[in-house]
Amino acid sequence: MNRKYRISSGVLVVFILIISLLSGCKGGKKPAEENVTVTVAPNAEVLQDIKQAEKIFNALPSPLESAMLIKSAGARFDEHLLNPVSNQNNYVTSKAMALNLGIYTCDLSFASLYEQTQLLIDYMNAAKKMADGLGILKAIQQEDIDKLEANINNTEVIMDVVSQTFMNSNSELEDMGRTAVASTVLVGGWIEGLYISTQLVDMNDFNGNKLVGRIIDQKLSIDILLNLLKGSKGDPSVDELIVQVSKLKAVFDKFKITSGPVRPEYDKTSNTTVLKSEVKTDMTPEIFKELSSVVAEIRNSFIM
């Protein structure tokens, strides 16, 4: 009996070691659940592809890209739309810290692109507090903040620090297997970008407004964002987010985006391929107002 016990312990040791070696390869069967980020698949065929493939990366726009999309649409900077850094002490639960890590990173990116130097440092400190609270101490370090301060007028360095800290937060959470938290950070950043954009739209200048166009584009992301969250279904804080994002999806579902064929054209001089296509949408000011209202309601619940 004793001998049998020793043998089975040995087998167990070998078995677990093999499993551990395989699990280190991060290319498991459910990579979609391992990634913080999410994709955009507007049609059923693409969604089917996602279910069938074994190694999937899903990519939502990062907070830095969201901020860039707002700026490139010609929007102005409005500090009052950001989540005040004075709120940072209110966030004590893991969910609140994760959501506001995403939110502060988006605000930080927004401040960076508009060269709001003091705000930039304040928001980096707020994001660090959230990251530290989540136990991802290496994500944003004091030396990153020192580097920002030393290069406060150097946009290139600032952007690099911002993108690197976001990458560190993502990957640290992935390394720790904290998928639900990683998804929550992403939701926070994405909602904040959508909130800022919707608040900046002047309804007297609705038709042909570039910022409205950017907001319409976010319809492409909503299904996959939901799928990402569903990967952590059962986690009470994620279940709450699923309810909120589903409400938002119901509004996005009220309008359509129709795209023509995509034609690649290579531009030799710039060594760049231009993907040409035309899209149409039936978004109305009424749907837009409803969308803005639902986004504001969700975002305000995050920053309370």
Binding site: K26, G27, Q164, S270
Partner: protein, 147 residues
């Protein structure tokens, strides 16, 4: 009882090894893939995984109109060439690096925002009997900052 002592120790090693492999892949992505973005600003997203010869991975992402993008896809030296192609939502191939001597990067911009699919495949050394090579493959995106 002895078993009860072993399990936590093994669990620690499982967790530590898994984290270490991920960390190595992250270090590779930062060192080898990030520089390939050149003048394009890295968006901050991180996608990397260990792939085996012949294995495929897919990535879905929305790209926005009037933005200039670069995608960089880099595999560890021990891997054979990394092939990638870009498809639209109707599965039409818009680009493949196979026609460009397995180039690691592709620069593009869009007239209208589109959701695109990237298919990354590790080609094969075609040496039957050998253990298939495996290594980290990283995918990163950059965009041009507009002043």
């Amino acid at each position: 009882m002895r078993l009860l002592k072993i399990i936590p120790i093994l669990a620690f090693f499982v967790f530590a090894y898994s984290g270490s492999a991920n960390a190595q892949c992250k270090a590779f992505a930062k060192k080898e893939c990030l520089p390939e973005l050149g003048p394009f600003q890295h968006d901050g997203n991180y996608h990397a995984a260990v792939l085996v010869e012949g294995e495929e991975a897919e990535l879905y992402k929305t790209f926005y109109s009037n933005m200039e993008y670069r995608v960089a896809i880099v595999g560890e030296d021990k891997l054979p060439a990394i092939e990638f192609k870009i498809l639209d939502s109707e599965k039409n191939v818009l680009y493949t690096n196979k026609d460009k001597d397995f180039a690691k990067t592709w620069d593009f911009k869009l007239q209208s925002s589109q959701q695109l699919k990237l298919v990354v495949k590790v080609s094969s050394f075609n040496k039957p009997g050998d253990t298939p090579a495996s290594g980290c493959v990283a995918i990163m995106f950059g965009f041009k900052i507009k002043k």
